[in-house]
């Protein structure tokens, strides 16, 4: 029987789209705010890098089967 799990596929597409675009936005903003004169830019940039780090940790969590 040919059965494609379309709901699962749509979930995968949406999740990947959100995740991929999300990390690109965060990392891009971190890069963009990395230099500039305003004093608030640097801390915000570091905070965004930290968010990227968290996303990497989430990725490792998803990869390692022992965690879930």
């Amino acid at each position: 029987m040919i059965a494609i799990d379309w709901p699962a596929f749509v979930t995968v597409v949406v999740a990947s789209l959100v995740a991929a675009c999300g990390i690109v936005v965060v990392f891009s903003l971190a890069l963009r705010l990395g230099d500039g004169r305003a004093p608030w830019r640097r801390p915000v940039s570091y905070a965004l890098y930290f968010v990227c780090g968290l996303i990497v940790v989430l990725g490792i969590y998803l990869i390692v089967p022992a965690f879930h």
Binding site: A15, I23, R32, C52, I63, P65
Partner: protein, 426 residues
């Protein structure tokens, strides 16, 4: 044929397949960081090898069926008993096909090669009834269309975002991000792909009666598979890296590389976690095409993309045919299996010798040094203060060199500053 000897042969071939799996798939993770110069080629494959090694030890769950339901395995209603001889023939088909596609530089899925080989062998062993056509369509054929298209769309969007948000001068910063995204792909590869070989070896041992039916793979199996896939990854399938990193989309920039890998990572992780399996190779290739479409001025070579697509289409039938031939030969008692193994080794040796006619190695990947252009102006000024006499010649020749090496816009600045220095001096 002696069963113990047969099992030893199967384990040897399974590890060889694991090795080809490693070097076939290095490109998925490391093609773009190598292409953009985020990582030096040797460093990149080294990182990938270590992460594959680690990943192999992390995978706890080994598949209960070799073919993931493609072949009606087991003793129940109309099931096929997959004997060690059939597995041997399937592995031969998969290995030879993996090496042929490597020779042609085609990124094709190693899992599909393995499934194809097993299908071919099973058809010889039990006829076409052994194959579940529905599963073949729903698990292999349709995902093979969906995976690259999905990855392409996501990577296209991610590339657009990256270029919209970050100004030209800062885009080299994406190189740092690339290291992390590509590492995640490598780790995921290790946890997924080493598992397949472990499954094959474990199921062979169970079929031969050396292990209990519900046994977990012994430690030596896990360790051997981990080392084989890591060694394969370190060997680096440079031909495939070249296709994916340089030929498919011309001049990949760091921002593109980051966007493509972020899409690959996101798609693979969500597909494996949410239970709609997509092939890593197909996702990675789709991402590279998507990022090529997403940047103005980048060109996607559709002829290369077409070749890759044809490779995907024929992977299962081709590996299956090779395995079917091997399975037919193996039926001839008592020397058929030996002839199989000898012929396979000869073919493998032949492919290796043929590949040496035009070698592709890490040396083919000349990449700009990281940080080479970061602050050409400052460097020149600083140097001028210290030793004005040397600066002129140095910065000039450097700038010329840089211009020769790549047509990046930045070296112009370097020449300007060199000219300035000249004027000031004069």
């Amino acid at each position: 044929m002696d069963l113990t000897l047969l099992v030893v042969l199967v384990i040897g071939l399974a590890l060889l397949f694991d090795f080809t799996n490693g070097f076939h798939d290095t490109a998925n993770a490391m093609a773009t960081p190598i292409a953009t110069g985020a990582l030096k080629p040797r460093v990149a494959v080294g990182i990938a090898a270590i992460l594959n090694l680690v990943g192999a030890f992390l995978s706890t769950e080994v598949a209960r069926t070799i073919s993931g339901g493609l072949i009606r395995e087991g003793d129940g209603d109309g099931g096929v008993q997959i004997t060690p001889v059939l597995i041997l023939a399937g592995l031969i088909g998969a290995i030879v096909w993996n090496l042929l596609t490597w020779l042609l530089g085609l990124p094709s899925s190693s899992s599909h090669a393995l499934f194809g080989g097993l299908i071919g062998a099973a058809i010889i062993g039990a006829g076409f009834g052994a194959i579940d056509g529905g599963v073949l369509v729903s698990k292999i054929l349709i995902p093979a269309v969906l995976a690259p298209v999905t990855a392409m769309a996501i990577s296209f969007l991610a590339t657009k975002i990256a270029y919209a948000l970050v100004r030209k001068g800062q885009r080299n910063g994406f190189k740092r991000g690339q290291i992390f995204t590509s590492s995640l792909v490598s780790l995921a590869h290790g946890t997924n792909d080493a598992q397949k070989t472990m499954g094959v070896i474990t199921l062979t041992l169970i079929a031969a009666g050396f292990l209990d039916v519900d046994a977990h793979p012994p430690f030596w199996v896990i360790a051997a598979c981990a080392v084989a896939i890591a060694a394969g990854t370190y060997a680096g399938g440079w031909r495939i890296i070249k296709t994916l990193g340089k030929d498919l989309t011309s001049d990949i920039e760091p921002a593109q590389g980051f966007a493509a890998e972020a899409s690959t990572t996101a798609t693979i992780l969500s597909s494996s976690y949410l239970g709609f399996a997509l092939s890593t190779t197909q996702v990675a290739s789709g991402s590279v095409i998507g990022t090529g479409l997403g940047r103005k001025g980048a060109k996607v070579k559709w002829s290369t993309a077409g070749k890759i697509a044809i490779g995907w289409l024929i992977t299962i039938p081709a590996a299956g045919t090779l395995a079917a031939l091997a399975a037919l030969l193996a039926r001839v008692e008592p020397w058929g299996v030996w002839v199989d193994v000898v012929v396979a080794l000869l073919v493998i040796g032949g492919i290796y010798l043929w590949s040496r006619r035009n070698r592709v190695s890490s040396r083919n990947f000349h990449t700009p040094q990281p940080g080479q252009f970061v602050r050409p102006k400052k460097k020149a000024k600083k140097a001028k203060k210290a030793k004005p006499a040397n600066v002129k010649t140095k910065s000039k020749s450097k700038a010329k060199k840089q211009q020769k090496q790549h047509r990046a816009p930045k070296p112009k600045k370097a020449t300007k500053s060199a000219k300035k220095n000249k004027k000031k001096k004069g």
